[in-house]
Symmetry: C2
Subunit: 154 residues, 2 copies
C-alpha cells in the first residue's frame, strides 16, 4: 500500500498533519503530470517556467535576477536555465544597457510559438478538473493562501 492509500484511509494524527502530507503529495503529483506533459516538447518544468516568465514580460526584457525572483522554485540557477533555452534558440541574451553587471533576457518568436503549442496541451489537461466546481477551487485557493500566510507572508 502506498501513500495514496494512506491519504484515503486517513491514517493521520490530525487533519493538519494529513494536510501537510497531502499538500506535498498533491504538489508532487501535479509536477509529475506537468513533467510528462512537457516531455514531448523537450523542456524541463524549470525551463518551461522561465519561458512563461519571459512571455509574461510582453517584449520587455527581464534580467536573470528578475527571473530568479519570479520563479516558483527557489534558486535553481536561472543563469544555467537561460543557457539551456539559449541552446534551443528560444531566447536571446544581451547585456543590460544601464547596468553592465546585469543581463537582459528576451523570448524569441520560436519560444512564443513553442509556448503556444504547449498551451493547447495544458488547457486540454486542465479540462480534467472541470468536474470540480469553481467555488471549491476558490475555497482551496483561499485555504492554501492562508496556509502559507501563517508565517508572516510567503
Amino acid at each position: 500500500m502506498g501513500i495514496s492509500e494512506d491519504l484515503k484511509q486517513n491514517k493521520f494524527r490530525t487533519p493538519t498533519s494529513k494536510a501537510i502530507v497531502n499538500i506535498i503529495y498533491t504538489g508532487n503529483w501535479v509536477l509529475q503530470q506537468q513533467h510528462e506533459l512537457l516531455k514531448p516538447f523537450g523542456l524541463t518544468i524549470q525551463q518551461y517556467n522561465v519561458l512563461r516568465i519571459l512571455r509574461g514580460q510582453q517584449n520587455n526584457p527581464i534580467t536573470v535576477l528578475g527571473i530568479t525572483e519570479r520563479m516558483l522554485d527557489k534558486m535553481s540557477n536561472a543563469s544555467r536555465l537561460v543557457d539551456k533555452l539559449l541552446e534551443k534558440n528560444l531566447v536571446l541574451r544581451r547585456e543590460c544597457p544601464h547596468d553592465r553587471r546585469a543581463v537582459d533576457v528576451i523570448i524569441l518568436p520560436a519560444g512564443l510559438t513553442l509556448l503556444e503549442e504547449i498551451d493547447q496541451v495544458q488547457l486540454n489537461w486542465e479540462q480534467n478538473f472541470h468536474g470540480i466546481s469553481l467555488e471549491k477551487m476558490d475555497q482551496m485557493n483561499e485555504i492554501l493562501d492562508e496556509f502559507r500566510n501563517v508565517f508572516t507572508n510567503n
Copy 2:
C-alpha cells in the same frame, strides 16, 4: 514581484489555473520548510521519508521495493537512499529469507531515536497552523483528494 504576489493578486485565467500553480507553489513551500527543519539532523527529505516508512513497519522488515512503493516521491532510488541511511548507521540491511533477490531493511534504535528528536521539532512547526480551524483543514484535504481523483485514482 514574485509568484507569491501573483497568487495574492489573482492574476489567473480561472480559479482552476490558479489552483494548479497554487498547489505546486504551496507544496514546494512546505518542502522548503521541511528541508530547513531537517538540516540540523543531517537528513535529506527523502532519507527522512524512508526512515519514517521504516518506523511505520513496527519492527517488521520491509524490502527496498516496499519502500519505493510507499514513497511520496516516485522512484528516487530507494536502494541508494538506504545506502545513505546505512552509512549513518540508522538502518540495517539483510537478505530477505524467502526471496534472495529481495533485501530487507530494518530501522535501528539509533534511527528511532533520531526520528523522535525530529518529531519534537515537527510538532512544534505544526503549531504554526493551529490558527486554521480543523474544519478548514478537512475541507482542504477533501478538495486535494478530489483534485487527484479526477484521474481515475491516484
